[in-house]
Symmetry: D2
Subunit: 343 residues, 4 copies
């Protein structure tokens, strides 16, 4: 940490703060500048020392040197990770595509969706059984029945399942049916839930919260990793900004930025990231070009009949076209992406 | 809802969409403008019709007319609510001040804090026993022992207790000790938690999420109200914006804006809202001037020793001074605020 | 500056970068930490050294220690400045209130406005003659005729005039009529305009751009100060955030934050800051409570007939009520504010 | 426009507002809903009627139906425009790449840059002669001498020149040397400047302001188009959001969103959009995949020696590599992009 003192601080105060730094188990280097004195605190830990030092009125600011996350860091594990479960393989050059409806609505709907997305080349099926909805008056999902339909769709198609879990007490239930457990954006900092999925042995897809910084995002992943589960997939799904023409702003620079700092795979969600069906394809292509390890896309046999997220859901035909284009971009850049299997 | 169609849409499509509107149980009025046709859908419900209509490629946009929340609305209950529990009374002209440390650290610390804030005029004691922390490596709170210390502080001072609950399975435990259950900003859309506190008979202080719109905030409250718990206090604690010189941006216009729309009391948190101790007093004063029903403030006998949030925590002396000034502003504007009781 | 190097950088590179620091005329202190090496560059100037050092691939980040502005700093001039011109006095305990219509529309309209705001206690008259409008199809102002009407209103009431100048070539013209030249939010970084008003001897009211950081805001003021004009009034008028229920988000913490760092007076614009007439009074009161040196408010004899900004303009009656309340809050906190003179 | 009235408004008020709508030359349709009455105002113009109607206290909100821009709209000109000047051709399937240093520093530097970017396949040269700088203490550009060096580089390489103009009085001077005039992000709403470049017959590259909405961006273009200059290139260069790990957030969904609404070509600036050299290539690739008509990129023979924007500037070697990859993606998607000419 670098502790920047205010102008004109007396030597005795500098000494007092340097002493406090040493009491924290750090080594204090006092550097007297022309206008300011700073104290470099070497041996930084990550336990709130920064806030303590900031609380001194004589301190202008405290600048951390080290990233606050550890296990997620590419400095800790030098090679990019691959997450693999059943039909889904993501990371280190392998592109995975997770596709399916926002909500599981019926056995027919999820089965039809699964077959169509598989035919187009998707490598996993998404579908919500427990649905976090902004309004208590909206459809809340089919719950366990939805999970059973998802399992039936896996049975029929071989596609791995990705579905959301919303609360710690459902983790075992969802893990019983699903191959990957999704933590939604609203729950990115639901720490009991993160701890609960940290204790299972299935991969977790962690969505970035719409106002989470990169450090907060990686620290949320760190909760899962710290629990012993090393199979975490990060998902950029858009942030909240002043832009109102799209549902969220999809900041694709997150992808290469994360990949310089963490070994965890990064996927992009152009459906939530834009909220507009016609923008899903260009942003899926852009995501791959930016270096994403995969995509997660909302697809429905009949978007206008979808029980949720209709405006951002693309049809199975549009998805097939999207996949054709994605394979072109992936091919041009040398990424490995599954071929379409056709009908 | 108003369904705005794209330019040059054929009559047959207009008819098709109007028919779909009628199938939703709404009445469709088609209005042919000079450049656009719009369909006014009368009899609006709040169940996702908007998204469905937005999914038609011929639809430019859909504009809802009604607010999506109901029970929270000032149109439903025409008078501003008062929440009262023990020493705390908030709303409709009564100002309550909730003060205390970020974390409960020891019995002595919370007791000393409680006595000091009471002496200065606070009407409730805050203190975290279960702490949501960005990093898994930070202090996570004393948990049930912390709750016991809080109860002891209430015993000693008569101050009502406000403390956070982080997960549904802890709701009963926390409700056993605390007078008001706080839902933190990170959990504003943790729906299982909202449902759980909707079923208890103690007031809930709901903090606005840092990227929540006002509609999302009121819909989160609606989850609690819909569960049968009508004692909800809304708390503005700052939003995430591009401003980096403060921890969050504290948008005080939320206060009068909410009070035009909801009967629920609104309190302001200038500690989290700024993240900087020296800004807490001016923003507390501004919150009262803006019409807030109360304040929630982080106070510690020795901020530099605080286990968490040290940089934004004020000393008990600074709090006493803040209260003197707050009483002046409240008095000037005719609000009722408790007098200091002294030591 | 603190230059943080990436992990595992070889000593030869550390030496190379330290040498480069010395070539910049700074003194380099190399501090070897447990995980990182940092170089403290002492003797910091403000000429782009930061960017140069950031361009090295081995550099993780560069953290400046000194604020980039100088003349505006409270470290340079230790006492808060007062800006005074005719009827307007602002700063260091003196509250000024600038009120009037968004646009000058006619001689009668501006005269009626001036008399009404003066009667209520305003100490300066605002009104736009040159209007920056988002759309080329909107009313662009009466231009020089508008300036003449403003001068006539000053003649009749004694109120100082505040009006906007949009382009360098108009600076002399506007300065001929107006007592204070306003730089609008859209022009906060129009450097030729800043330089032009830096050369005149009349006060400048500089509005914060809607996405300007505090450093950028103070550096814009620095352009004016650097030109030799020391009478700069800073104006917080709202920033752009994800909040869409108000026109802008009014971050009042700007006021005390600025006053800790600069000697320049700070005023608040609750009209643009909210965009909603009913929110103007509470946010004006909050601004004063937060420590603002003044207010600038849009007032029109008949808001529904206003040529621009109708939705955020309050009536002269509402303004008179606002002033009564503002005087109460100012009085409670010991600020000097002009009394109403009545009709 | 749709005028939404508050709940429980009396019939006489509805009639009064509907009458006002008719006085504006619009046709008023009153629609009585179950909870609200709305007035559809048909025949919408774009002259401030919305604000006037919003100023009525009985009005909840006013929703415009039509986009506020006209000439820029794809509804006005149904085909995507191509902008062509010398070596630069952009739009409707043609990709142009504008590359070069942030600032012109010397004749050698700009000539070396020009040759290198041409060899790699760039189709225009960028370089700043008049530099808008946040701080008055930073290098402000070589001014007219810089323009002369740019012209010499065009002479030597055949590359068209793109350079910024900052103030109306420089428009003729800059137009004398440059092929395309750039309006920087800080000046996007400098209306006198927009009007000045609207009167010349050279293309204008208009950068989006960091907090501009899409409507504001297109209305800024409309100022230029309305002046008679139809050769406007839009440039997405990043917006200001809470993200601090990049200089700006680059929202690539702007590209397909704009292309659905306007016929003007859209280019992406991954240099300013990220502020970090290592992110420029992935975001350039992503921009092309998202459908951009071109790129504008900061390239310098020796980034560490660059007089400005060093941290986001890539070397000529890195640019050559970027171009190889861009051509692959462009080829995969069927866009026309110039081949590298080699040294």
């Amino acid at each position: 940490m670098i502790v920047v003192l205010k102008k004109g601080i007396e030597d005795s105060v500098v000494t007092k703060i340097a002493k406090r730094v040493e009491e924290m188990g750090l080594k204090a280097h006092v550097i007297v500048g022309t206008e300011r004195t700073v104290i470099a605190a070497v041996g930084e830990k990550r336990n709130g020392e920064q806030e303590t030092l900031e609380s001194y009125p004589e301190v202008e600011k405290v600048v951390p040197i080290l990233a606050p996350y550890k296990v997620a860091s590419l400095e800790t594990k030098l090679e990019h990770s691959v997450v693999e479960t059943g039909s889904l393989k993501l990371g280190n050059g392998h592109l995975g595509v997770i596709a399916g409806p926002c909500s599981v609505e019926s056995e027919e709907q999820i089965l039809e969706s699964a077959k169509a997305v598989k035919a187009a080349g998707a490598t996993a099926l998404r579908g919500g059984a427990f649905k976090p909805r902004t309004s208590p008056y909206s459809f809340q999902g089919l719950k366990e029945v939805g999970l059973q339909y998802l399992a039936a769709a896996r049975e029929a198609t071989g596609l791995s399942i990705v579905t959301e879990v919303m609360t710690p007490e459902h983790v075992d239930l969802v893990a019983q049916y699903s191959d990957v457990l999704q933590i939604g954006a609203r729950n990115m900092q639901n720490y009991h839930l993160l701890q609960a999925v940290g204790e299972i042995d299935k991969p977790v897809l962690l969505k970035r919260g719409p106002s989470a910084t990169i450090d907060e995002f990686l620290l949320a992943a760190e909760y899962i990793l710290d629990g012993g589960n090393s199979n975490v997939i990060l998902c950029e799904r858009g942030i909240r900004t002043f832009e109102a023409h799209t549902r969220f702003t999809l900041p694709l620079a997150t992808v290469p930025y994360l990949k310089e700092r963490t070994h965890l795979p990064v996927v992009v969600d152009p459906s939530h990231g834009t909220g507009i069906a016609s923008l899903v394809k260009p942003m899926a292509l852009a995501g791959i070009a930016a270096g994403a390890d995969g995509l997660i896309i909302e697809v429905h046999p009949n978007p206008a009949e979808a029980a949720s997220d209709a405006a951002q859901t693309i049809s199975t035909e549009a998805f097939a076209d999207l996949m054709v284009q994605c394979r072109k971009v992936a091919g041009a850049l040398g990424y490995k992406m599954a071929e379409a299997v056709g009908v």
